[in-house]
């Protein structure tokens, strides 16, 4: 039992790490622009497909392919911010609706370009095994966890100790005040959007070799990422990390007791349950009059 439990906890941490990558991007974007980008999931998918494309067509190195994919999706994110989300700023409903339009456009463009079938992405690390005590995991599993932890630390340090990171935090605390003290809010906004998109692409590239690359691969991470940031408290970076990990571990461990098919539903029930007790999320603060 303990062994099965441990195994599921590691699995959960791995999936949770992927949700955290998505959630971090969402939180960054929400912080500086006050928009929830529902199209974040298709950026995840696009990242997976581009990574696969670069890997098979150009460069036989997983890391280079991942890096190139992150760069290109970052550029896509930049274009979306400039072309769609910024012109709609201040209009919550239209921003959400535009992002729904982007979901349709991207997801179906991917299907039209690469076909509806899942693509295999063979990477050596998925077949190498490590044993920890009695448990055996692929290097890729552990790699995802370690890499995500490294990304979180790097992002934390960046936000805390660099000039630009401070500008991002200032903008998410109070946009007008940030503008008044001379922070280039527009540049902060588009770079946060590009950074968030690149993180989503990283998630897609990490998951692709494990679970195949397919057009709907971003749907579940998007929804779990959204649930994670709601759980952690909207706009809170540590909240997004903890929220994503809680969701990942809960749903993995729940498969020990309940049918696997209900895994997704259970994650949402946990989310709704916690939010009913604490509507502002675990880390959030209640702001009067804020929507």
């Amino acid at each position: 039992m303990t062994q099965a439990l441990l195994e599921q906890v590691i699995n959960g941490l791995m999936m949770g790490s992927v949700y955290v990558l998505v959630a971090l991007g969402l939180v960054l974007i929400y912080g500086v622009m006050h928009v929830v980008n529902f199209a974040h999931g298709v950026l995840f998918t696009l990242g997976g497909y581009l990574g696969h494309f670069f890997f098979t067509q150009w460069w036989d190195s997983f890391w280079m392919a991942t890096l190139l994919s992150m760069l290109s999706v970052g550029l896509v994110g930049y274009a979306l911010e400039r072309g769609v989300f910024h012109p709609l700023h201040g209009n919550l409903r239209n921003q959400v609706i535009a992002s729904l339009g982007l979901i349709l456009a991207f997801e179906n463009a991917v299907i039209a370009l690469w076909g509806p079938n899942a693509l295999q992405w063979k990477v050596a690390t998925t077949e190498q095994l490590v044993s920890v005590g009695e448990l055996r995991f692929s290097v890729h599993h552990l790699g995802i966890i370690v890499l995500t932890m490294a990304m979180i630390t790097a992002l934390g340090l960046f936000l805390k100790h660099t000039r630009f990171g401070t500008a991002i935090r200032a903008t998410s605390q109070n946009q007008e005040a940030a503008l008044v003290v001379g922070i280039p809010v527009r540049r902060v906004q588009w770079s946060a959007f590009a950074l968030g998109s690149a993180l989503a692409a990283l998630g897609g590239c990490l998951v692709g070799p494990l679970f195949l690359v397919f057009p709907q691969m971003g749907d579940v991470p998007l929804v779990k990422g959204l649930a994670g940031i709601l759980l952690g408290g909207m706009g809170s970076v540590p909240g997004a990390v903890v929220g994503g990990l809680i969701l990942g571990v809960t749903e993995s461990v729940s498969t020990l007791f309940l049918p696997t098919d209900y895994r997704d539903a259970i994650a949402f029930m946990v989310m709704v349950g916690i939010l009913l007790l604490r509507p502002q999320g675990l880390w959030g603060q209640r702001v009067r009059g804020e929507d």
């Binding site: 729904l100 456009a105 179906n108 929804v223 009913l276």
Partner: protein
């Protein structure tokens, strides 16, 4: 009534006579039925989104509740069509009302995400509760409504034109309900809530009650649409009630023009008709629709109905506008 009313009546007559002018083109009739099937839940969502300002991203989950309740009643309990529709609407509306009470604890983005989560949970139940919903394979063998008898006359719903009459009837019913709601005191209070909820509450409007009611109405209409869909396709499949279908529903309402009375009809007709005109694969159609949706939010926030209203204004200018312009 006026010119607009006459125009609506004319369009309705054209649509109602489709079985005659489209007798040689069953495909066209098929498309019209599909549009009717889509328009019923779209009207429900228009009540919530357009009139009440509540963006629900799990609408088709409630259509699924209606569809499966009716399927179980008609196939397992051998109920006839009409009571099954009523029961399905009640079930979907009750579920919508209850779930909305939970959702209304959240605002703005939070509300949308929670509705999305509930839509996904409902889909998970439909997909996995094998003993009742028959699981992912779908619930087959749903009958068409039993034939009507009037003396010696028998009116069966098997042939497409006859089923089209039923579908159009239900769509008209949905639009009539929408008209009544919007032109009642309830509808005016709803508009007040959409424009400024806090102000409405301070003027003594019980906003929670009104929002819950409109959510229940919208989801009940979604349930009706679900029943219509499964009795048209003769099978209830979880794939019809996914997150993407819910998003498509939002898209239909927005492209048509949220908050407009005829918007859902324009949106549904375009959604069904455009790909046939363009002769494109399904994927590129949705790409075009996605891009259109983005463009509409950017350049024509009132949707097609708004564009039509502007064209109408341009064709038949009202005197007041002449005064208003310098």
């Amino acid at each position: 009534m006026g010119l607009k009313g006459l125009a609506c009546l004319l369009v309705l007559l054209v649509l109602a006579s489709a079985p005659w002018w489209a007798a040689q083109q069953p495909f066209l009739l098929h498309m019209l039925v599909t549009a009717c099937v889509l328009v019923v839940p779209a009207v429900g969502l228009n009540l919530m989104l357009g009139h009440g300002g509540l963006v629900s991203l799990g609408h088709m989950g409630f259509a699924g509740i209606g569809a499966y309740v009716a399927a179980v009643l008609m196939v397992d309990a051998r109920w006839s069509f009409a009571p099954s529709v009523l029961a399905a609407m009640l079930a979907a509306g009750a579920a919508g009302g209850l779930i909305s009470l939970l959702c209304f604890r959240f605002r703005g983005h939070f509300f949308m995400i929670v509705t999305l989560a509930f839509g996904l949970m409902l889909h998970a139940v439909m997909n996995n509760w094998d003993s009742v919903t028959r699981g992912a394979a779908g619930f087959a063998g749903i009958p068409r409504p039993s034939p009507l008898r009037w003396g010696d006359q028998v009116w069966s719903f098997g042939p497409l034109p006859n089923f089209y009459a039923l579908a159009l009837g239900m769509a008209v019913l949905a639009f009539a309900l929408q008209y009544l709601v919007v032109h009642s005191n309830f509808g005016r209070s709803l508009a007040a809530i959409r424009q400024d909820e806090r102000l409405a509450r301070s003027r003594g409007v019980n906003t929670l009650l009104y929002k819950t009611t409109v959510f229940a109405m919208g989801t009940a209409l979604a349930g009706m649409g679900g029943v219509l869909q499964v009795s048209f396709l003769r099978v209830a499949a979880p794939a019809s009630f996914t997150m993407l279908e819910s998003i498509n529903m939002v898209l239909i309402v927005i492209i048509g023009g949220a908050g407009s009375l005829v918007g859902p009809a324009l949106g549904a007709l375009l959604y069904v008709g455009l790909p046939e005109m363009l002769r494109l694969s399904n994927e590129w159609r949705l790409v075009i629709f996605g891009v259109m949706l983005v463009l509409i939010t950017l350049f024509a926030p009132k949707g097609l109905a708004g564009l039509c209203a502007r064209a109408w204004q341009w064709l038949i200018p009202r005197k007041t506008t002449a005064v208003a312009k310098p």
